[in-house]
Symmetry: C2
Subunit: 205 residues, 2 copies
């Protein structure tokens, strides 16, 4: 029989399972980016898997001192708040809403609710990792954010322009909203991908 005392293992497992089942909803949050074959929009659950694989695969381009394991954990958690807030595309409304004060406040409330489903110790540690990613200051967070910017660029290149066409993104906007951030954590990856992205923005400085 399962132990049903208040502090028993089954109470802890029940909280963890409630969190894991709630997390399933991230698979229904759609992003601006499409799959590489252009067939449909990507959801934030599969995007998070892809980013964890990016971290494993591109680890040798991380600056010294970056802990790839922590980067993977951050990337697995980083979008969970979108269950409540939805994805805010980086190029939507000409870049004005991504990371706005209103968006950030809504995301903080979402983190409180969603991580709050977990046992207290885990709620605190998962939320701390999410906050570190959001702050984007630690070396691990800077590298994680570079990958989060790099992956949609690769999807757009593979899939015929994708969200760049939809949002009429210009080359200066791509460099400012995306390139600077990829270069901050992973300069040699930006050097490489810049050359692949450049032909999609002809006749622009």
């Amino acid at each position: 029989m399962a132990d049903l005392t208040p502090d028993g293992p089954s109470v802890r497992i029940a909280a963890q399972m409630a969190f894991l089942t709630e997390a399933d909803r991230l698979k229904s949050v759609l992003r601006a980016s499409k799959l590489a074959d252009g067939s449909r929009r990507e959801n934030s659950g599969e995007h998070s898997w892809h980013l964890a694989l990016y971290a494993m695969t591109l680890a040798d381009h991380a600056p010294e001192g970056v802990d790839i394991t922590r980067v993977m954990r951050m990337l697995i958690l980083h979008d969970l708040v979108e269950i409540d807030t939805g994805d805010v595309p980086i190029h939507s409304k000409n870049g004005s809403v991504h990371h706005s004060a209103a968006t950030m406040a809504a995301e903080a409330r979402a983190a409180e609710r969603i991580f709050g489903l977990l046992p207290e110790d885990q709620a605190a540690s998962f939320r701390a990792l999410w906050l570190e990613f959001e702050a984007g200051e630690s070396p691990d967070a800077v590298f994680a954010r570079s990958l989060d910017r790099l992956q949609p660029v690769m999807q757009n290149i593979a899939g015929g322009g994708g969200s760049w066409l939809e949002y009429s993104v210009t080359w200066p906007q791509l460099k400012e909203r995306v390139g600077v951030k990829i270069a901050r954590g992973a300069p040699e990856l930006w050097d490489w991908v810049r050359e692949k992205a450049r032909p999609w923005f002809p006749h622009q400085d």
Copy 2:
């Protein structure tokens, strides 16, 4: 300018990016299990993300000595071969095809091709991790496989019976094909989930 010499970093990055873009196709491989809300079938990309989150969240139920980081890496890679082979549902054809010799040979060829897109050192280390998962003998692989069996049970409970109804699964079959394997790596998780699953199989021993 990117370095285009044969051993230069840009050749390595190009191979890594080719692998990451090929990996995107896992988001189009559909599984028997549905999302927790029953709205559609789950794909193997988002399933792999969910399992990495399972590993992070349920780490305290792993046997001593299990390295959760390696478990997460295994789970992120474990289904990539399905890009070539498709998912083989555990309950399909009355359980006869999952892990059959023919299935395993096809998966080995797929691993050769897909991990072979990477630079040689990474191809070897990713394939070794996948083989360890497939063999299911090391403590890390045993725990990873327990989670891979546990997650669809939770999806079926949340989503109204899901693949159990579709494949007319019986309680003895569930215990044999699924329960034994969850219990092997995570006995207290099987104790907990068995009680939740049991009511879905009334009037069966």
